[in-house]
C-alpha cells in the first residue's frame, strides 16, 4: 500500500515539473495589469483572472495573422506528407520498378544529412526559385519528409500481401490497390504522419527564421520570439502569446492520442 502511495507521490512530483511551467505561464497570462507578477512569495493563482492580455497581445503584434500563417503552413505540410509520403512509400514497398533499391537508398541517405548542414544552400535554392520570403518556401523542404516516406513504406511492407495479390487477380490496378486496400489498412500510420507533420511544422523555428524576412509573413514561432524582443518588460503579453501557440497542439494531441501510441508501434516496430 505504502509503495503505491510512494509511486503516486513521485508521479505527482514529475507532473509538477513537466506541466507546472505551462500552468505558471497560463496563470501569468491571466493576471491583470494591476496585479504584481513579481511578488515574493509568488502568487500562484491570479487574484482577478482576466482574458485582457489576449486582447492586448493582438494589439501589440498581429498574432492572429501569425497564427493563420502557421495554420496554412501546417495544413499544407500535412496534406503534402499524407498524400506524397504515402504514395512514395507505397511505390517503394509494393511496386516493381527499375532503380527501386537506389531510390530507397537515396531516401535513407538523406536522413543522414542534418538539416542544419544544408539550410544555407536550401535558402539559395529558394532564392533562385524566387520563393524566398514566401510561405511556400517554408512548406516546400518538409512537404514530403523522407522519414515519413520510410514510415509509410514500413507500414505497407507489414501488410499481408495476399489480399493485394487477390486484388491483382480480380483486375485491380496499382492505384486501386493503393486507395482501396493499402491506404485504409495503414490508416494508423497515416494519422501518426499527419500529427507529426502538423506538430513539426507548427513548431518549426530555425527554417522560417532563415527564409522569412517580412513580418507580415511571420509564422507564430517567429512572431513570438519577435514579441519577446519587443515587449520583454511585459511577461503577461508574452505568456498570452505562448498560450495561443501551444493550445491548438495540446487539443490536437489529446484528440489523436489513441491512434498515436498504436500507430507508432504499427510503423516502427515491424521495420
Amino acid at each position: 500500500m505504502s509503495r503505491i502511495v510512494g509511486r503516486y507521490a513521485l508521479l505527482l512530483l514529475v507532473l509538477v515539473i513537466t506541466v507546472g511551467p505551462f500552468l505558471w505561464q497560463l496563470s501569468t497570462s491571466l493576471k491583470g495589469v494591476t496585479e504584481d507578477i513579481y511578488s515574493t512569495p509568488p502568487q500562484l493563482f491570479p487574484l482577478h483572472p482576466t482574458p485582457g492580455n489576449y486582447a492586448r497581445v493582438a494589439d501589440a503584434v498581429p498574432i492572429w495573422s501569425f497564427a493563420l500563417n502557421s495554420l496554412i503552413v501546417a495544413s499544407a505540410n500535412v496534406l503534402g506528407n499524407c498524400l506524397g509520403a504515402s504514395m512514395a512509400g507505397y511505390a517503394l514497398a509494393r511496386l516493381r520498378f527499375r532503380g527501386r533499391t537506389a531510390a530507397t537508398t537515396v531516401f535513407l541517405a538523406s536522413l543522414l544529412v542534418p538539416f542544419e548542414a544544408i539550410m544555407v544552400a536550401l535558402f539559395l535554392v529558394m532564392r533562385s526559385l524566387h520563393l524566398s520570403n514566401t510561405l511556400a518556401a517554408v512548406v516546400l523542404p518538409g512537404a514530403i519528409g523522407a522519414l515519413n516516406v520510410m514510415l509509410m513504406r514500413n507500414a505497407f511492407l507489414a501488410l499481408p500481401s495476399a489480399v493485394e495479390e487477390a486484388a491483382v487477380i480480380d483486375g485491380a490496378n496499382a492505384w486501386q490497390r493503393f486507395t482501396r486496400i493499402a491506404l485504409p489498412s495503414a490508416r494508423g500510420t497515416v494519422v501518426v504522419v499527419a500529427v507529426f507533420s502538423f506538430m513539426f511544422s507548427w513548431d518549426d523555428f530555425l527554417w522560417p527564421l532563415i527564409v522569412l524576412s517580412d513580418p507580415a509573413k511571420y509564422t507564430l514561432t517567429i512572431g513570438l520570439s519577435y514579441l519577446q524582443g519587443t515587449f520583454v518588460n511585459d511577461q503577461r503579453l508574452v505568456a498570452a502569446g505562448t498560450m495561443i501557440a501551444v493550445a491548438p497542439l495540446v487539443l490536437l494531441f489529446v484528440a489523436a492520442q489513441k491512434h498515436f501510441f498504436r500507430g507508432v508501434g504499427e510503423g516502427a516496430v515491424k521495420g
Binding site: I4, R7, L11, V14, I17, T18, V19, P21, F22, W24, Q25, T28, Y38, T40, P41, P42, V106, S110, L112, V113, P114, E116, A117, I118, M119, V120, A121, L122, F123, L124, V125, L140, P141, A143, I144, A146, V149, M199, D203, F205, L206, I210, T221, L224, S225, Q228, Q235, T242, A245, V246, L249, V250, F253, V254, Q257, F261, V264, G265, A268, V269
Partner: protein, 273 residues
C-alpha cells in the same frame, strides 16, 4: 522532391565551401581558404566547444532520467494514461514556447529564484540568463526537460519486451528491486539505451533554438554561448551573409555529426563482443 531539397543543397554546400560566395557579390573558387580561416577563427572554436559541451551535459541525463520515468509509468495504475500524456506535453510544445516559458521562470525575478528565495536558500538571485556558463547550463536544462517525454515513450515500448519470466525467476531467487534492475532490465534495454544515446547526441550537437532563445541571437555575453549551428546561421544569412564560409562550417557540422554517429555505433559494437 528529396533530390531537389536535400541532395542538391548538400552537393551545393560542398561546392560552396570552397568558394568565397556572398549573398551580394560573386563567387570565386578559393580552395581550402575557408578552412584555413576557420582554424584561426576563435568564434569557430568557441562554437564547436559549446556544441561539444552540450553533448556532454545533455546526453547522460537524457539516457538515464527517461528510463526511470518509463519505469515509473510502466505499471498499469488507475490514471496512468493521464500521467503518460501529461509527461509528453513538453515534447509537443514548440521550442519557442518552451524557451519563452523558461526565460520567464529563470528570470532574476522569475519563479525559480522566487521559490528559492522564499525557502531561504538564496540571498541574491541566481543570474541564470546573463552568466556565460549558467546560460549554457540553463539551455541544457531546457533541452533535458523537453526531451524527457519523448525518450520515455521509446523506453516504454522497449520495457514491454523485457521477458516477464526472467523477472519472476530473479524474484524467486531472492533478487531485490535494485538487483533485478541491474541484472534483468538494463541488459535487456541496452540496445534501446544506445539508440537513445545516439539520437540525443546527434540532436545535442546541432543545438540552436534553446541557446538562441535563452541567450539571444548574439549568443550570450560577447557571443560566448554561440553554438556551431548558431554560427552557421549568423555567418550565412542576412545581407552580408558569407555563403562560402558558412557552407564550409556546414560541412564541418556534417562531418562531425556523421563522426559522432559512427563513433557511437562502433562503441556499441565493441560492447557486444
Amino acid at each position: 522532391m528529396v533530390i531537389g531539397f536535400s541532395l542538391f543543397p548538400f552537393l551545393n554546400t560542398v561546392v560552396l565551401a570552397f568558394t568565397d560566395a556572398k549573398v551580394l557579390g560573386g563567387s570565386h573558387f578559393t580552395g581550402a581558404d575557408n578552412f584555413v580561416r576557420m582554424v584561426d577563427d576563435p568564434a569557430f572554436w568557441t562554437a564547436v566547444g559549446n556544441s561539444a559541451l552540450y553533448v556532454v551535459g545533455v546526453v547522460p541525463p537524457l539516457v538515464i532520467l527517461p528510463l526511470l520515468l518509463a519505469m515509473l509509468v510502466e505499471r498499469k495504475l488507475p490514471g496512468i494514461t493521464f500521467f503518460r500524456t501529461a509527461f509528453f506535453t513538453p515534447v509537443i510544445a514548440s521550442i519557442v514556447v518552451v524557451g519563452l516559458i523558461w526565460t520567464w521562470l529563470l528570470d532574476t525575478r522569475g519563479l525559480v529564484n522566487d521559490v528559492l528565495a522564499a525557502l531561504g536558500v538564496l540571498k541574491t538571485p541566481i543570474p541564470f540568463l546573463t552568466d556565460r556558463w549558467l546560460l549554457l547550463v540553463s539551455a541544457m536544462l531546457v533541452t533535458v526537460w523537453k526531451g524527457l517525454g519523448y525518450y520515455m515513450v521509446i523506453y516504454l515500448a522497449a520495457l514491454g519486451t523485457v521477458p516477464k519470466d526472467l523477472h519472476e525467476a530473479a524474484q524467486v531467487d531472492g533478487a531485490g528491486w535494485w538487483r533485478r534492475l541491474l541484472s534483468v532490465t538494463l541488459p535487456a534495454l541496452r540496445p534501446t539505451m544506445v539508440l537513445v544515446a545516439v539520437l540525443a547526441t546527434v540532436a545535442a550537437f546541432r543545438v540552436f533554438s534553446e541557446v538562441y532563445l535563452l541567450a539571444g541571437q548574439a549568443g550570450g555575453p560577447g557571443g560566448a554561448d554561440t553554438t556551431l549551428v548558431m554560427l552557421i546561421q549568423q555567418v550565412g544569412t542576412g545581407l552580408s551573409g558569407e555563403l562560402g564560409y558558412s557552407s564550409a562550417l556546414s560541412l564541418v557540422l556534417f562531418v562531425l555529426t556523421l563522426g559522432l554517429l559512427l563513433a557511437t555505433n562502433r562503441l556499441n559494437r565493441r560492447e557486444d563482443l
